[in-house]
Amino acid sequence: MITFLINLAKNIFSVFLNILPILVVVTSFQLFVIKQPFPDLAATISGMIFVLVGLFLFIHGLKIGLFPLGEKMAFQFSAKGNIWWLLFFGFALGFSTTIAEPALIAIANKAGEIAAEANAIQHTSKSISNYAFGLRMTVAFSVGLAIAIGVFRIVKGWPIQWFIITGYICVSIITSFAPEEIVGIAFDSGGVTTSTITVPLVAALGVGLASSIRGRNPIVDGFGLIAFASLTPMFFVMLYGFIIY
């Protein structure tokens, strides 16, 4: 019982640690720089409490259910050795974790509202949610693809920099053709995708793979999946932009 309570307190504190720096910075700016009462203080505080409680339940739920099972599966698959199943598992893992990523849901909705306000898409809640959903599916597909490519790279042991540099070149080329309305959100989607759910599971897959293949160094080969997952969405979201605009 006591260990349970200690664990609970620890978990709450670690979520609070996410918000604490923001509180400190915002409060000191409000007191020393802006020197004015914060607008809508009560609503914002209650909203932040929702963020804290929601994030705590979310992460706690992941830790007791999904993470142990997902990590075990990642290790089992990497030990099993059938490359096709492994690639398919990598794709499915990347795709499904990205769909549930909270930051991506939030950003996709915002992007939809902004596109509607600029009259780039129709201003109805239906077309906004369609836009947001399409964006998330595009990103999820690209993360799935990235993980599959990344797994293949680890199995083959090819150096990561050639993939990344090629990716950069592709992104730079497509940027010069892409509609300017999509460029910002496309570049952002790279960083947004890899968060709370995706990072732990994907990292487990990478390190599991690199340690189960002989002659692989976990640090050189195990890391790098996340980098792929932040790169491919930029390219595919710009393609999505060609279709939308």
Partner: protein, 269 residues
């Protein structure tokens, strides 16, 4: 009543968001691995928490985090705040309809502080830093890595705010950043390269992303002459790109230091 309806709607949405993971886990566990799930009750309980937690978080985002970011950017870009009671500056803003970029000084500082503080406390980064120390047998110091990443994010967001204020195209900065990354890759120790590439994606957490996005949207809608759809996004891209540069730089510098101290001790011997 409306709140209840709204909450039920959000809950239904998160159920949809989480269902692909449940599907993937069940499919691979039952069809491919063909083993029973060890503790199905615990897994189901975990998923319930995930769904409820995500729903509460999404409501909190709408009510707390987005308004916070937007309020900060509104206050920091307010004309009378920018002019600091200097009537001449206020008059000039009125007359020209534009604001000199240097007047947004505190916005850049705010971006820097938010980037630095949230990154240095980021649990995912702490985990990666410890793992990196472990697998590099101590060659990569966790504090050095965290500091490098946090500085990268801070400079990234700060520069990103400046870009929104002056309104130059995002891709110039990104492509230039890519060139720097490619250049540094050739000089960086091999061991740090994948870690550096990963650190870009790891840093931007679930709490930081919405806040930073709201900051960008607020800036683009309040700085005169900027368009929200073209200028608002891009801060997160900066926050993911600059840590790659700073971690590669950290790798190069710490390798040089190690070589130099080795030479010194050789000379002494």
């Amino acid at each position: 009543m409306e709140l209840l309806y709204h909450s039920a709607n959000v809950l239904l949405g998160t159920l949809k968001d989480v269902s692909p993971i449940i599907g993937v886990i069940l499919f691979f566990q039952l069809v491919i691995i063909r083993k029973k799930i060890d503790n199905p009750g615990r897994l189901a309980y975990g998923f319930c928490l995930v769904i409820i937690g995500l729903a509460i978080f999404m409501i909190g985002l709408e009510e707390g985090l987005f308004p916070l970011g937007e309020a900060m950017s509104r206050q920091l870009t307010n004309f009378s705040f920018l002019a600091k009671g200097n009537a001449a500056i206020l008059k000039e803003i009125d007359a020209t309809g534009s604001v000199h970029p240097s007047l947004y000084f505190w916005t850049y500082v705010f971006g820097f502080c938010i980037g630095f503080s949230t990154t240095i406390a980021e649990p995912a980064l702490i985990a990666v830093a410890l793992k990196a120390k472990e697998v590099s047998t101590g060659a990569i110091s966790p504090w050095g890595l965290r500091l490098a990443v946090a500085l990268g994010v801070a400079i990234g967001i700060s520069l990103g705010c400046y870009r929104i204020v002056i309104g130059s195209p995002l891709h110039w900065y990104i492509v230039a950043g890519y060139l720097v990354v490619i250049g540094l890759t050739f000089f960086a120790p091999k061991m740090i390269i994948p870690l550096a590439y990963d650190s870009g994606g790891v840093t931007t957490s679930t709490v930081t992303v919405p806040l930073v996005a709201a900051l960008g949207i607020g800036l683009a809608s309040n700085v005169p002459g900027r368009s929200v759809i073209v200028d608002a996004f891009g801060l997160i891209a900066f926050a993911s790109l600059f840590p790659i540069i700073s971690v590669l730089g950290y790798g190069i510098i710490s390798e040089q230091i190690a070589i130099r101290s080795r030479k010194k001790s050789l000379r002494k011997a």
